[in-house]
């Protein structure tokens, strides 16, 4: 009996160890810093698109990049809340590096974190495959888009423009948070560096 309770105890052992928390934070900071290097791209795109009034597209084109930390940490540490923590910390890095969004980045981080976590929640933290990843992408795109409509006043745009923005964001998120994440996880899988 003693043995049995021990076995179930091991099974239920929380993934939230000190080491895993540090790991999530480190991965979030790494991705945050890599995107920081791509930050000029956002400014350049915005400058290029502003004369046409299409600046919101810069945001949606790069959305996938900013939403990568969530699915990545969610995939590596497979437990409730890891995608949220990774995404939120990734956004916080931008704040401390002096990003152009200020307090807005904290809030975006919260929204993006909840959004990418929700995808894993919907699959019950069981589907760590292409399907689970796509669930996370879907919730990320829908929730962040709804949030940006409020924050950036996109709900005042006409329907075709809104659709255009939505599709752009979906493609961007699919490429970065989807395809790129899958490739990274595949590399990790092959290297057997981590128990996936």
């Amino acid at each position: 009996m003693d043995n049995k309770s021990q076995a179930s105890g091991v099974k239920k052992q929380s993934q939230w160890t000190l080491r895993n928390i540090i790991l999530i934070a480190l991965i979030a900071i790494f991705t945050g810093i890599i995107f920081w290097g791509a930050g000029f791209l956002y400014t350049a795109l915005t400058v290029a698109l502003t004369p046409f009034g299409m600046a919101p597209f810069a945001n949606d084109l790069l959305m996938g990049l900013w939403c990568m930390a969530g699915p990545l940490t969610g995939f590596i540490i497979r437990t409730f809340g890891s995608a949220f923590l990774g995404e939120f910390l990734g956004a916080s890095v931008e704040v401390f590096l002096g990003g152009q969004w200020g307090a807005g980045a904290f809030i975006s981080g919260l929204v993006q974190g909840i959004a990418s976590e929700l995808g894993f929640t919907l699959t019950g933290y069981k589907r760590y495959d292409w399907f689970g990843l796509n669930a996370s992408i879907f919730t990320t795109v829908v929730i962040t888009f709804a949030w940006d409509m409020i924050r950036n006043g996109c709900d005042k745009f006409s329907l075709p423009l809104l659709l255009g923005l939505f599709v752009t964001r979906y493609i961007s998120t699919f490429i970065f948070a989807g395809v790129l994440t899958k490739m990274i996880v595949k590399l990790l899988d092959r290297s057997k560096a981590i128990n996936l």
Binding site: L23, A55, V95, G98
Partner: protein
């Protein structure tokens, strides 16, 4: 002000101005934040940064709303000032509070488990080293004729390998310094939320509510 309370206040106000539309309140928030920042002896370079960089997204949003939005130029100005309000509100926190104090108060006063407070703090303290590591990964790949960009899976793969190794080292180091997970800790530096913190928090939040309620323009 207690850094945890300050962050909470900043986030609450930023969240509120996302849902309300008042040009004047946005400008008041920017002005008050700027005054506060100026009293804190920050560098001119940092100040220039928070004024200059948000200009791009702010102008971008303004123009697109002006050209294609149905709500007119007044709404475009609200969006323009909203971006600056976010940045200046954020700066009142980031330019004046240390991340160490934040994690100490989150642990001691907001009852965040100590492994989160110290684990995340340990990782954030490595930020300069992480920037260095990204450069090293890119340079050593370049020496093998392999250019890594932010879209290269290899760059992230190598970063994650470093993260795995470093997280292991850091956790071991913390354990060997006497850190025990899920165990009550005593504190060398005690941070409390004082009556003054509470008063400031409540009064400032109340003032914003009153402003948002009465100033609708």
């Amino acid at each position: 002000m207690n850094p945890g309370m300050k962050l909470l206040l900043v986030m609450l106000v930023a969240l509120e101005i996302s849902f309300t539309q008042s040009l004047i309140v946005n400008i008041i928030l920017i002005a008050v934040s700027l005054l506060y920042i100026l009293t804190q002896h920050i560098s001119m370079k940092a100040l220039f940064g928070i004024i200059f960089w948000p200009l791009f997204p702010a102008v971008g949003l303004f123009v697109s709303q002006w050209l294609y939005g149905s709500a007119g130029i007044h709404f475009a100005w609200i969006l323009f000032t909203r971006i600056y309000a976010y940045v200046f509100l954020g700066a009142t926190f980031t330019l004046t509070s240390s991340i160490t104090d934040l994690s100490l108060t989150l642990e001691q006063d907001f009852h965040l488990p100590s492994k989160f407070a110290y684990g995340v703090l340990a990782a954030f303290n490595l930020m300069p080293k992480i920037a260095e590591e990204v450069r090293i990964i890119k340079t050593s790949a370049l020496m093998r004729g392999d250019a890594l960009h932010f879209w290269s899976p290899k760059l992230y793969f190598k970063s994650i390998l470093s993260s795995i190794q470093w997280s292991h080292n850091l956790a071991e180091a913390m354990t060997s310094h006497g850190f025990v997970e899920d165990y009550e800790r005593t504190h060398y530096k005690v941070i409390r939320i004082t009556a003054l913190d509470w008063t400031l928090f409540i009064v400032l939040l109340a003032v914003v509510q009153v402003l948002l309620f009465f100033i609708r323009y």
